[in-house]
């Protein structure tokens, strides 16, 4: 009896994962240079629509995946956090480009050294900017991750994460 229930649950979870990974509604949080490559990846030549992620939603409340595309400065950081908070669960974050991963070569007073100091990140796509092939690779990695996630665990990713100090 227990076995059958587990079997059903895991099948259901994999079906949910399958459905989720092919209907990614993304929110492109485009700030900088990487946006140009994001455009290239999203348009006809490379076409992210093949992966079910072709429909950007420009409202955080309707999006599943937050694509943080480009350098985040300290002035922009509160905005990014707020947009992340506005997204509904389940949600994932892709750090697009090396500035979002680590701050890149902008190691100075103005730049956040990696957005994972502010919000949790699921997939890091390095490159300055990453080539569209690289972006597609990252997207497929995200799909793998979504497929493997348990739907109930995926509900609360933020809890697993260290909550940053509020602004003083």
């Amino acid at each position: 009896m227990f076995g059958a229930a587990n079997f059903l649950t895991s099948k259901l979870e994999s079906a949910i994962g399958w459905a989720r990974k092919f209907s990614l509604f993304q929110y492109p949080f485009v700030t900088a240079c990487c946006g140009m490559e994001y455009m290239a990846a999203a348009c006809s030549h490379y076409d992210v629509d093949r992966f079910g992620a072709g429909f950007p939603r420009f409202s955080p409340r309707q999006a599943d995946v937050l694509f943080v595309v480009g350098t985040i400065s300290h002035k922009m950081a509160p905005v990014l956090k707020r947009i992340y908070d506005q997204m509904t669960e389940p949600k994932w974050v892709v750090a697009f480009g090396v500035c979002t991963c680590t701050g890149g070569f902008y190691d100075n007073y103005a730049t956040v050294m990696g957005i994972d100091t502010i919000i949790p990140v699921d997939v890091y796509i390095p490159g300055c900017p990453p080539r569209p092939e690289n972006v597609l690779d990252g997207l497929m990695k995200l799909q793998e991750k979504i497929q493997a996630q348990h739907s109930r665990k995926a509900v609360l990713p933020a809890q697993r994460f260290y909550a940053p100090k509020p602004a003083v």
Partner: protein
């Protein structure tokens, strides 16, 4: 007009205000006293001799570390040989250097579209009272440029309608392009200081 003629003409108009002039690498450059800035700028704009209708750029330089920056520490010290210009490049006068004694220089670049000439105007500004007259009554472009100089260098502009930070946020303390501001001193609004 040739760069040297431009400098001469401005110096002839304002003999007391002009502190120095040079045409290093064919860039006409005139240094004026802060008191003479507004009059000189107005003359540049309105005098048919100059007709500088564009304020192309407005910035500042912090000369407090000029020539005092420590050499890079490496296994082999550099011989420090400078590149000399090629033959044919006008190098009749070496660069006279920054105005002695004052920490900042506010640098204006003017361009005349009708006459196709450029002029650089420099104003030395002291550290104790970093303040110069605003050029906003003459050029609308000065508004944002001056806000940026205030933001980056902490130089105030007398008569500016809205002198507040433009690139950094209000909570930011200090002026990042001053030479004594460390390059990676961060003041985050949220998140850890790293």
């Amino acid at each position: 007009m040739l760069p040297s003629q431009l400098c001469e003409a401005l110096a002839a108009r304002f003999p007391e205000a002009v502190l120095a002039r040079h045409t290093y690498r064919n860039d006409a450059t005139v240094t004026v006293r802060p008191e003479g800035l507004l009059a000189a700028a107005r003359a540049l704009k309105e005098d048919p001799l100059f007709q500088m209708n564009f304020l192309m750029d407005l910035t500042a330089v912090d000369y407090s570390a000029f020539g005092k920056r420590p050499p890079a520490r490496g296994a082999f010290p550099s011989s420090g040989v400078e590149v000399r210009p090629e033959d044919g490049v006008p190098d009749e006068a070496p660069w006279p250097g920054p105005a002695v004694g004052e920490r900042f220089e506010v640098v204006y670049h003017f361009f005349s579209w009708p006459l196709k000439h450029r002029l650089r105007l420099k104003v030395p500004v002291g550290e104790a009272l970093p303040e110069v007259d605003s050029l906003t009554p003459l050029w609308a472009a000065a508004n944002w440029f001056e806000r940026e100089v205030w933001d980056m260098f902490g130089i105030r502009f007398r008569g500016h309608p809205n002198l507040k930070r433009i690139l950094m946020y209000e909570e930011f303390a200090g002026h990042p392009l001053r030479k004594d501001y460390p390059v990676n001193k961060r003041q985050p609004l949220i998140g850890p200081v790293n």
